[in-house]
């Protein structure tokens, strides 16, 4: 009896501990099969059938006359951002699809959306982080292959090739790029002018400027990632593209070279050396948040900041007094000017959607209603879609600094000065590894050789699995 009690106590304690630590089960009726790919194919077939059925319906009402409902996911936003979104997305959509109930649903975090989709539900159109994020949903057959819709609507010819190709996974199109962005060097022109400094034109001039800023008691390049470790991908994407060269990265991804090759390795070494010198983040980047970074830059605690083009809107909205400019990273003469590019996000169609055809039609509307799009960029600072038809002439009257930046992006694109940001062009496991371990390089926990070897390991694995991203 006593042993029986002990056994019960053990079982109950075990259950309690499991209860506390359980991070959830499958939440998916199909998830625990023994791994046959067949069931995955079956899911896709079911979705295709559903798609065909939906094609028979008109774009607004079902056969029974009921209004169709379409849900689009979006990121959490404050009241002001919601008001802007309502003006440039919600209301135009309602006007274009009067017979459809379109709801834009905010998700406070990625995992809520992920869990909902895994559970067989979720919105019809998923606003995801970009190709690497979409790839995970595609692996799980949770987003639809958009190939047929791309043919129907002619999407291939609408988008810039590099952006469109980045949305492929396993040779299938799973998303459409919702923005394009790049990594640039921001200059606080007040600090530059006060010290009599010129914007550096090449790497050597940049080193001279960084040393001068350091000597003046300033932070040469302001950077911080204490609240988001992964922000280091802005740094290594910039250094590998601009000082390693896009050709070397492309060769590594395509298997004709290695990520451990001298050009890329040296670019990472340069980044580490500059961090150690105090040029990047004054050896305290792990204690400074992204918000601090913008604040420090606008306050003039340093002359430069490596950040994405998205930061320009934040600077204009939060620090309108800041006198800034943005340029491509000062070039390595042997490589030339490079602007690391990325697609900022992607629209995908949920495989659980009951209205995939309608979802595709709505997506097509968003990418083809260009007057609405220009207005949203001009008046609300939305990021432009990577559309070939996109014409800067339609943005006259917008903030001059922002206009300059768009011109910079377009020039880099037109002149093929494209570098590769990890969140669009690296295998996702490789990016996660590099995001988690770049600080280890700075803090001497890891050597550059170990880091590069491990990164190459992820490229090899992705190539073997056939999931290596397509680089333009």
């Amino acid at each position: 009896m006593k042993n029986g009690k002990k056994l019960w106590a053990l079982l109950l304690a075990g259950t309690m501990a499991f209860s506390l630590t359980a991070c959830g089960g499958s939440g998916n009726n199909n998830s625990a099969d023994s791994g046959s790919t067949g069931s995955g194919e079956a899911t896709q077939e079911e979705n295709d059938t559903a798609g065909e059925a939906a094609a028979d319906e008109d774009s607004g009402k079902t056969d029974s006359g009921e209004r169709q409902k379409l849900i689009i996911s979006c990121y959490l936003a404050d009241d002001a951002q919601v008001a802007v979104r309502e003006k440039y997305i919600d209301e135009p959509l309602k006007a274009a699809f009067p017979d459809v109930d379109i709801e834009i649903k905010m998700y406070s975090d990625r995992q809520s959306l992920q869990v909902e989709v895994a559970g067989g539900g979720g919105p019809d159109i998923l606003d995801l982080d970009g190709p690497t994020d979409v790839a995970e949903f595609a692996k799980a057959d949770k987003v639809l292959d958009l190939g047929a819709y791309a043919d129907q609507y002619g999407w291939k010819d609408m988008f810039y090739e590099w952006a469109y190709n980045s949305c492929f996974y396993n040779d299938k199109l799973y998303s459409l790029p919702t923005s394009f962005e790049g990594m640039v060097m921001y200059y606080n022109m007040d600090v530059m002018e006060a010290n009599g400094w010129e914007v550096p034109k090449n790497k050597d001039e940049l080193v001279t400027l960084m040393q001068a800023a350091k000597d003046a008691g300033l932070i040469p390049i302001i950077f911080g990632n204490s609240d988001y470790q992964g922000a280091v991908d802005w740094l290594y994407s910039t250094f590998t593209s601009c000082y390693g060269g896009p050709a070397a990265i492309k060769a590594a991804m395509e298997g004709t070279g290695k990520y451990t090759d001298e050009p890329i390795k040296n670019s990472i070494q340069t980044m580490v050396d500059w961090w150690h010198e105090g040029y990047i983040g004054e050896n305290a980047s792990q204690s400074v948040s992204n918000m601090d970074m913008l604040a420090f830059f606008s306050e003039g605690r340093g002359p430069m900041m490596i950040d994405g083009t998205w930061a320009s809107n934040q600077l204009l909205a939060t620090y309108p007094e800041c006198n800034w400019d943005s340029e491509m990273m000062p070039q390595d003469e042997a490589i030339g000017e490079i602007l690391p590019f990325a697609t900022g996000g992607g629209y995908a169609i949920n495989a659980n959607s009951k209205n995939p055809d309608l979802a595709a039609e709505v997506m097509n509307y968003l990418f083809t209603s260009l007057d609405r799009h220009y207005q949203s960029i001009n008046e609300a600072g939305y990021q432009p879609y990577p559309l070939k038809e996109f014409d800067l002439a339609n943005l006259q009257g917008m903030d001059a600094k922002l206009m300059d930046q768009y011109e910079l992006l377009m020039r880099a694109q037109d002149e093929n000065k494209i570098g590769y940001c990890s969140w669009t062009f690296y295998p996702s496991e490789m990016r996660v590894y590099m995001n988690e371990n770049t600080d280890s390089l700075f803090l001497d926990v890891l050597t550059v050789d170990e880091y590069m070897e491990n990164a190459q390991g992820y490229i090899d694995a992705a190539r073997e699995a056939g999931t290596i991203p397509v680089l333009p």
């Binding site: 501990a17 791994g35 990632n225 609240d227 204690s287």
Partner: protein, 293 residues
């Protein structure tokens, strides 16, 4: 054996709660155990891989590092807040009029959400505008240059300090409540026998609250291995994985790396560690007279 009606009735009363618990706690918890045997990205179909996740765990240097950090965290939490909470509870229990005031003041950090407190302390620990500025003005140059959250050698302890700040008031209130339950005649008897304050504490107060001490110890041990919020908010496991703990590593695997199967296996290991520590603590408490046999 004849089952008497009065023997069944109590079970009927607890049956609804048991069924609800089984459905929403026990079954999902055991599904964690099952999913730990699968390669699963958290969304699609899972592939059975047997014990591969567990084999990987034993080769994964970050798991080892996370467990070490949890043990360091445990050592901090099993000493500082317990001693501080106990000493302050003794002092506050002797107060008459102002006891409520001090109890409230010390308890307030516990009711502030981790997200808010974490952000506030991040600002305090910022090298450019936090307490370092104060240290600098006081001429304490070494302290002024300390990167509380940026130095891998001290970041974990800096976060633990903040969690302690939040936690110790709760411990103090638990001890205070227990101290007030100790029969006052025992203190009178001790005084009649000539005991001084320290002897009263040693022979009346501590034995009188030994079950509360045992409870606090066991919860501290388990919570130390399950802690997540302050680390996630303040350092996100960084810098250079210096504050990575089991819970943050599980979260990252499940939702950042899309490795839910591996995360489930880590949960099983985490649970196993908690169960072992639970029974170890129970055994030591009984041997030490903290709990009844």
């Amino acid at each position: 054996m004849k089952i008497k009606k009065q023997n069944i009735i109590p079970y009927l009363f607890i049956l609804p709660a048991f069924v609800i618990h089984a459905c929403i706690v026990t079954v999902p918890a055991f599904s964690t155990l099952i999913m730990s045997l699968f390669d699963w990205n958290g969304m699609g179909n899972a592939k059975f891989i047997g014990m591969d996740n567990f084999k990987e765990i034993f080769r994964d240097p970050l798991v080892k590092l996370s467990v070490i950090h949890n043990i360091e965290w445990l050592l901090v939490f099993i000493t500082i807040p317990l001693i501080l909470g106990f000493v302050v509870a003794i002092l506050v229990s002797r107060l008459r009029r102002s006891q409520m005031f001090f109890r409230t003041v010390y308890f307030i950090p516990y009711v502030i959400s981790a997200a808010v407190a974490g952000r506030i302390w991040m600002a305090y620990m910022n090298p450019y505008y936090g307490v370092n500025q104060v240290f600098g003005q006081m001429g304490w140059e070494k302290l002024a240059k300390t990167l509380w959250l940026g130095n891998p050698k001290i970041a974990l302890f800096a976060v633990a300090f903040v969690d302690n700040w939040h936690w110790w008031g709760f411990i103090m209130v638990l001890f205070l409540g227990a101290l007030q339950q100790v029969d006052s005649t025992l203190y009178e008897a001790a005084r009649v026998d000539g005991a001084n304050r320290f002897q009263e504490l040693l022979h009346v107060s501590i034995p009188g609250i030994r079950q509360t001490i045992a409870f606090v110890l066991i919860m501290t041990i388990m919570w130390s291995f399950l802690t997540f919020d302050y680390v996630y908010i303040m350092t996100n496991g960084g810098p250079a994985n210096a504050t990575e703990i089991m819970a943050t590593y599980i979260y990252k695997n499940a939702f950042v790396k899309y490795r839910a199967g591996y995360a489930n296996a880590l949960c099983v290991i985490q649970s196993g560690i908690c169960i072992i520590l639970y029974f170890l603590q129970k055994y030591i408490s009984k041997k030490g007279g903290m709990e009844d046999e």
